[in-house]
């Protein structure tokens, strides 16, 4: 069976949500090994096993948490040379992208980014990635020797525990991590507070675009979101303009979301945005431009002025909830 590895990013020993998605895909493709690095990584072993990892490499050195990419690249390059798996899967996250990209240059191997699916094909791999905002699905096959590295977009796969899973074999590594070369080191971490549900988990998302006109108009989105128990998101234009922090951004750069209901307010629907939200079950759009591309994918589209309609909508929702 093919050897398939997953780069299992953990935070204080808990795998990131995308890791469970990667494991679900990886175990369908071959014998799966997970690599969990950083302080507390050994705590993730049980979960990684539940999702189908047969073997887990663990290294708990603090450098994997505090130094960007390079320690993970050094270790992975060494382990890959030893075990020679066919495929290594990473999440398309900040760190996953840095590590996979550097590693591909180190090994001279194929790196395929933005993937949403991987299948076996003619004894190799066929990797599917969306292009042009997801309107086109492109299939890429690796040509280079060595393991194929694939970056999978979050939410591309639905995470499910394996039907039958034994405890994985664990190999704990303790060899010293060389950080004598110049490195990028994390000095401190800052958290930006957000109220309400997280974008990634929210069942309803109220999202604003440039059509809102000014940053203060996001207040009415907050109000509507509070009434609906929704999370607030934003388009790239709004984030680039500095109206909202990057953590709100939905799209190609930014978050991929799959809510039950997505309410797009003053969002034109540029492809960079829609690739991050077209998986929503239902899309509602309000925009003054009848030609806005968002109307091509909306289940209900209202051509009109968000500044007038949103305050009315808040009232309508309130009165209906009262009944």
């Amino acid at each position: 069976m093919a050897g398939v590895w997953v780069f299992a990013e953990t935070v204080d020993g808990t795998p990131k949500p995308v890791v469970l998605e990667l494991l679900t895909k990886a175990r369908s493709l071959g014998d799966m090994t997970a690599v969990a690095l950083g302080p507390g990584a050994s705590k993730s072993v049980e979960t990684l096993g539940k999702y189908g990892a047969k073997k887990v490499y663990v290294h708990e050195d603090g450098a994997f948490r505090d130094v960007l990419a390079t320690p993970a690249v050094e270790l992975l390059a060494r382990l890959l040379a030893k075990d020679k798996p066919d495929l290594v899967i990473f999440g398309m996250t900040y760190d996953g992208r840095d590590v996979a990209s550097r590693l591909s240059a180190r090994l001279g191997t194929a790196l395929i980014a933005n993937a949403t699916d991987i299948g076996a094909k003619d004894g190799g791999w066929a990797i599917v990635s969306p292009m042009f905002g997801g309107s086109l699905l492109v299939t890429t096959v690796p040509k280079a020797k060595g393991p194929t590295l694939v970056l999978i977009r979050p939410k591309a796969v639905t995470a499910e525990p394996a039907a039958s899973a034994g405890a994985p074999q664990v190999e704990t590594l303790t060899d010293p991590v060389d950080t004598s070369k110049p490195v990028a080191r994390v000095l401190r971490r800052e958290t930006e507070k957000a109220s309400g549900p997280k974008l990634e988990d929210a069942a309803i998302i109220v999202s604003g675009g440039r059509g809102l006109g000014a940053p203060e108009n996001f207040k009415m989105l907050d109000e509507l979101a509070a009434e609906l128990g929704a999370a607030v998101g934003a388009s790239r234009a709004v984030v680039d303009a500095g109206w909202k922090p990057y953590s709100f951004q939905i799209g190609q750069t930014g978050k991929t979301v799959k809510p039950t209901v997505y309410i797009a307010l003053g969002i034109s629907g540029a492809m960079q945005h829609t690739v991050g939200m077209k998986g929503a079950r239902t899309i509602i759009a309000i925009n003054k431009d009848p030609e806005a591309p968002i109307f091509k994918m909306a289940d209900l589209g209202v051509v009109g002025d968000v500044h007038k309609i949103v305050p009315q909508l808040i009232q309508e929702v309130r009165s209906r909830k009262g009944k």
Binding site: S101, R102, T139, R189, E190, Y246, T253, L300, V302
Partner: protein
Amino acid sequence: MNVLVCIKQIPDPNAPGKLDPQTKRLVREGVDLVLDPGDEHAVEAGLQIVEKDAGEVTVISMGPPKAVDAIRRALAMGAHRGILVTDTALENSDAISTARAIAAAVKGQTYDVIICGTESTDGSSGAVPAQLAEFLALPLLSFAKKLEVAQGKAVIDRQTDDGYDVVEAPLPAVVTVTGGINEARYPALRGIMQAKNKEVKQVGLSDIGLDGQAGKAALTQEVVDATPAEARKAGEIVEDKGDGAKRVADFLKELKVI
């Protein structure tokens, strides 16, 4: 302080993109080509460093001869000189070839900071900056929404899922900047005039010692199929005649979310 900024010319992102059904390559004919809007922030970040601290900004791009227009745009913004890596053997290059070519083209030159956008707006793999850092054996400060360069170090606020990390690296270093880092300046007429006289050096694969080691000769992957994805169907579109909010609220009720 010597700054290198990596830029890319792309089809206008506001125009719908197309792939050639035969070659599976991006159609560049009949489409407006522009400097990637993400790269304008990289050029701006470079200019701000040398304006504070003296020095020069060099812009580099790999692409067809026409990509010189994107370099001229950066020069019009205020960059000092340009390098275009262009060679028919580099057509259809993957990210790793691009990074290898740029690394080879700047070998032996000393830059304190190398700035890139986080990813191109068209290809958007975001792999080139980290690959370039690896080929040059430099640290990479990625996803910067703030950048400060002083005393032989670069310090960034690095975007994270729920905030940012403050990350430091000694110079020289590669930095990728997000759109939110600055407001890119618009070239002034004077800048556009001056740009015409600034030096743009063109180099091919043999000039940088990469004959047969990049581009077509070294493809790591191949696109074998491109299929239209199942499109979402448009639903009902109504014009607001004072009842728009009511329609939306009715629909939300129907969906049982209120």
